[in-house]
Subunit: 313 residues, 2 copies
């Protein structure tokens, strides 16, 4: 018998990546196209379907038993992408339905951080774990909570928004309309906001001052690597807020590990030594020295595609 395959799709604000995956997590082939440049979501779906059909024909279209999609604000229960600030479509898009009608395959959708959590659980750093938190530190902060071996969806499919836990009461304005959300501090954009605030408020000499226009998290990392005091302090400040917030999350789900993924996670120990320190310092005694902080064990693109494809199995 020919082995069944799954199609995994990762819809990002800029690119849509996809891959055809077997049960063991081997990506047989992969491709991508731009998420942007389509006038309507229908045109996007038409263009995507064409690419996907081409890909499936190369392995035998009948072997592909289903399609899994990871997308910002993707909802597992409704099949919709609802009000995703980083995607070009407005309102609630019935993406699973549209794609299913076009491909004549069953389509399952979840949000991108949940897909990453499933990918890590099946093929990555969380293999064999039943209780862990996946945290994506990108432009924003996303999360997927796994408990008792299952992804937490909540009653409406919207569980796991740790990026919008209030880390600093009455803190920075967030794109969601509230103040002090974790993602206004502990994301690639949040760390840049910290730098801009400090450059404004402080006088100390720092390499960051010359990069002020067009400053990115990469500049801050590079400066920290060179021993720049303000850049190092920014990483400590960011790690403190992230560590404190993770300590509170641990008090709710008591995970075996927290797995970090995404651009800012690449700062590695520069950030994580502080996350570790401040998380431990803020943990209730029964949780101390028990929660492992880990990095994703899969290549960036693969995590999302593998996780999305795993929805099929």
């Amino acid at each position: 018998m020919t082995e069944p395959l799954a199609l995994g799709i990762d819809i990002g604000g800029t690119n849509t990546c996809f891959g055809i995956v077997d049960r063991r997590g081997r990506i047989l082939m992969q491709g991508s196209m731009s998420t942007l440049g389509h006038d309507t979501v229908q045109e996007y779906i038409a263009a995507l379907s064409k690419e996907l059909t081409k890909a499936m024909e190369q392995v035998d279209i009948e072997r592909v038993i289903g399609v899994g999609v990871g997308a910002p604000n993707g909802n597992y229960f409704t099949g919709e992408i609802a009000y995703a600030p980083n995607l070009p479509w407005e309102g609630a898009i019935p993406l699973a339905k549209l794609l299913s009608e076009s491909l004549h395959k069953k389509v399952t959708i979840t949000n991108d951080a949940n897909a990453a959590a499933i990918g890590e659980m099946m093929y990555g750093a969380a293999k064999g774990m039943k209780d862990f938190i996946m945290v994506t530190l990108g432009t924003g902060v996303g999360s997927g909570f796994v408990a008792n071996g299952q992804l937490l969806y909540g009653h409406d499919g919207f569980a796991g928004e740790i990026g919008h836990v209030i880390s600093v009461r009455d803190g920075r304005m967030c794109g969601c309309g509230r103040r002090g959300c974790l993602e206004t501090y502990a994301s690639a954009t949040g760390i840049v906001r910290t730098a801009h605030e400090w450059l404004e408020d402080r006088e100390d000499d720092t390499l960051l001052r010359k990069d002020k226009v067009g400053l990115t998290s990469q500049h801050i990392f590079n400066a920290a690597e060179k021993g720049d005091a303000m850049a190092l302090e920014i990483f400590e400040y960011t790690g403190k807020i992230l560590g404190q917030t993770m300590a509170d999350a641990v008090a709710i789900t008591s995970p075996q590990a927290i797995i970090f993924f995404g651009g800012l996670a690449k700062a590695g120990d520069m950030l994580m030594k502080h996350v570790q320190h401040y998380m431990e310092a803020n943990l209730l005694r029964i949780y101390k020295n028990k929660v492992a902080l880990l990095y994703s064990a899969l290549p960036d693109v693969d995590v999302a595609i593998l996780g999305a494809s795993a929805l099929v199995w």
Copy 2:
């Protein structure tokens, strides 16, 4: 065939209550004894076993197929009660093992708030719900999280300690050794601490001043009912902190409802209208107007006994 029965035990800091329960949640008989006054845990177990055996003999000891226990810091995985500050025994007590050896029945244990959550799910306000949070507002604050129809235990059995989420960064000293835990504000003792702090710091005329010695949450409630401005403000302050913290918890598990139980929950609308207001004001848009705040639908003693007995089924 005779219907099987379960024995449910609720171990509190003062009293140990127990009941024999059928599958439909009918308590066929119940009793209690003091938790205190036993020199060692062994003597406590011996005295308890005697009471339980007497009770079981009245219904037919063979029909009782198992024993469930709810206790502060009870751990479902290890069967131990570990470092419970409100119980008279020190260290980790292998309670399930001791009681099982004494009664010759299978004994399962969990913490008191988890037991209450199971009780509400099987017989109370959460009947039919798959995603909810149970919050007990007593001397401390406890919680049990149910997601996908299952209690969240976490990897070590210690999940669900919302009482020790940091609600106020660098806030009040907590018995756990850290600062700003929810239970230092939103418990029967927390609300009294608020009153004492305010009586100390402020000059306004209030009924609470004459009750200052021996002040309880009941005094504050009575004063608020009479329209006392400070007492009313204390309930708003308490509800604000509780509401803000629940908003953060919602962002993690997205529950259908939060169910409140315990002494301070009896303040009813006096507290809950503020919890509702501040929770909604702090919720991310996707969660707004979706989370019901409910009260336990079971009599106080019954919740704990029913929940503990439900561990058996």
